[in-house]
Symmetry: C2
Subunit: 393 residues, 2 copies
């Protein structure tokens, strides 16, 4: 049984966290922009990083540290991504790890580093070094941490769960930030998850890979994949409970899917949350391609912004997705109402379809009727507000 | 020597065209929406069609007719795409060909059929049958034809050239429409080209394939590929001149590139025309992937709309493009000014870069410094106006 509880990343036993303002996000230092998460005892760690070839300095440093193992803390900053910053950026990320090590009494190699914010601007690392000295660590600061990692997010993303198993209970919690550059295969998206369950490192890696696939890799807002995406999972075993793999994965999915959903709902300029499920595909790859083509179609997303229950643009996107498709077999539903049957318009009253497309959340089911494979993605509309927010300078 | 002349598709000898209003675009029939193009003598024909699996009925019928050869005329309508219309749509497209055959004294199999406009709405073909009876045919109606095929285009797209060769001169002319769903691999984009050069069918097909690759397949506005895209080329040999293949291709490229450029400039809500050239790629495929990833990045395009000489989002798009890339070798230029060198920001004064990004047209050169391959695409910004135009109902 999984029960939602308070406490976020500090809910699991043996984890401390804290946040402060270092003056990176704004020089007046009125907004928190620095966050530290520590396990009081050694922990197993797993992480997934952006598949973008252009990787930010903190991603590269974290990958190095993760290989050496023994990770026990995470330092995160917002306001500056420390990406496309060359050798100097790498040195900066290492200094960030060293400062976090000094604050926590750990070795620099035991720290993972995350940055999010502007690309290509040198990160003023001395502010982080000063900030870390004053970062409070405690059991009640998770929400403050969730706020500190926000960039263009409009609300903090946080969750914690208590998981009962026959052998006893464990806890799992997470925070995340999203907003821009959200796409399957990870996004500018940072996520830190803590648990006091006992999970060996190999099993932890396997569970995280599977859970990211079930959550963050199924969301898309603008089709752009960022340079900084990172999901980190620390398991310190403080509960003494070693849950069966399927029980742990279920709990982990509850955390990652809740955070992924919050990220989509808080996408830049988003006015609709749309679930797209493609079924009846000839292969798993086809199901994914078809769902992602629809989810990323600029024209389809604009139609939703106008509350238009569009189907022609959906058919068009399916047609160029690369998935096997027989036009005359294809069916499309808005919630449970058919809008396309046998490749052409169904007879559902338009008013009913319009009422669904006018909602804040709806679901589109697509049946290719060619095989047993399916795939689900969560996406959004594309609004004038999105463009306005991304006009740059 | 290639000289621009008047006359559009009726400039080549032996071609007639005309347009009328059939009441499909608007019931008051105040806007032309029907166009007929005829060669007075037998012609060789070549065509390229959308690669979308969902193909409109007129595309399917035209593909059938083209296989049988002997094409001598084209009928085009705007206002209704006759796509996703099932068996009834196929019958409609055949009736359109039959009506054009009756008007011209040809056989239905000698007619190619094109439709553009709304998807999934039955095409009122009786209006086309009535309209074709009153369609005038002459040598001075090309511009009227270019207007008749417009949908959300804001200006007609037309060109004609006189080509001098040592053996004598020939003419070539074209009209096109673009606007929405523009993407490489063809788009809702119709284009009809006529020439009085003597070109055997096989050479004509080869030249058209090459020229479409050099023009329409290099443009992208919104990354959506339509169900109706068609480019048709008729060569009736009336000039008696058989130019060498390279001379003909050069003339054809002049026509297709001019029309492709006009389509981009007239993209929905477009405020900038941007040429992206990726050089130094390890393979031709890499060069193309890199250029297209940048050209289709929602975030990059939004930045341009704000006249922001963005480079972080370009680096990001290059990173996820799938092209081989070494961050520390990559250089990016706005016109000739470096903005990125060795993967990080160059020292060009920001004011100069901003002045370029504020122009209506500019060029971005990207040097991957890994090999000899290059690729160029033409694209646009993404504006609030684009979203507004595509909100649907």
């Amino acid at each position: 049984m999984i029960e939602k509880i308070r406490g976020g990343i500090a809910a699991p036993a043996g984890f401390l966290c804290g946040a402060t303002s270092s003056g990176i996000k704004n020089p007046q230092a009125t907004r928190d922009d620095l966050c530290l998460i520590v396990s009081e005892i050694p922990a197993a760690a797993a992480a997934t990083f952006t598949t973008n070839v252009v990787k930010a300095a903190p991603v590269r440093v974290s990958m190095e540290h993760l290989k050496k193992g023994k990770i026990q803390a995470i330092v995160l900053n917002s306001g500056n991504a420390n990406a496309c910053t060359g050798e100097a950026g790498l040195a900066t990320a290492r200094r960030m790890a060293a400062a976090a090590a000094e604050r926590t009494g750990l070795q620099p190699e035991q720290i993972l580093v995350c940055s999010t914010g502007r690309i290509g601007v040198p990160l003023p690392v001395s502010r982080i070094e000063t900030g870390l000295k004053k970062t409070p660590l405690g059991h009640s600061h998770s929400r403050k941490c969730a706020k500190a990692i926000m960039t263009s997010d409009t609300f903090p993303k946080e969750i914690a769960c208590l998981v009962d198993t026959p052998g006893g209970s464990f806890r799992i919690g997470g925070i995340a930030k999203g907003a821009g550059m959200i796409d399957p295969n990870m996004a500018t998206m940072l996520c830190a998850i803590t648990t006091d369950a006992v999970i060996p490192p190999a099993a932890l890696r396997k569970a995280l890979r599977a859970s990211v696939e079930n959550s963050f890799n199924r969301i898309t807002i603008d089709g752009d994949m960022s340079t900084n995406d990172t999901v980190i999972l620390l398991a310190n075993g403080a509960s003494g409970i070693a849950p069966p793999p399927d029980v742990f994965l279920k709990a982990l999915d509850a955390v990652t899917q809740t955070l992924a959903r919050q990220i989509v709902l808080d996408g830049e300029g988003v006015s609709k949350f749309v679930e797209i499920e493609v079924g009846g595909a000839r292969s798993a790859r086809d199901a994914r391609r078809a769902a992602e083509a629809v989810a990323n179609s600029t024209l389809v997303k604009c139609a939703w912004a106008g509350s238009d229950p569009n189907w022609g643009r959906i058919m068009d996107a399916l047609g160029y997705s690369g998935a096997a498709l027989r036009e005359e077999k294809t069916a499309i539903f808005y919630d449970k109402l058919p809008i396309v049957r046998n490749g052409t318009v169904a007879d559902t009253p338009w008013k009913k379809l319009k009422a669904i497309a006018a909602r804040k959340e709806f679901r589109i089911a697509i049946d290719l009727a060619l095989g047993p494979f399916s795939h689900t993605v969560w996406t959004t509309d594309l609004t004038e507000e999105y463009v306005r927010l991304n006009l740059g300078e």
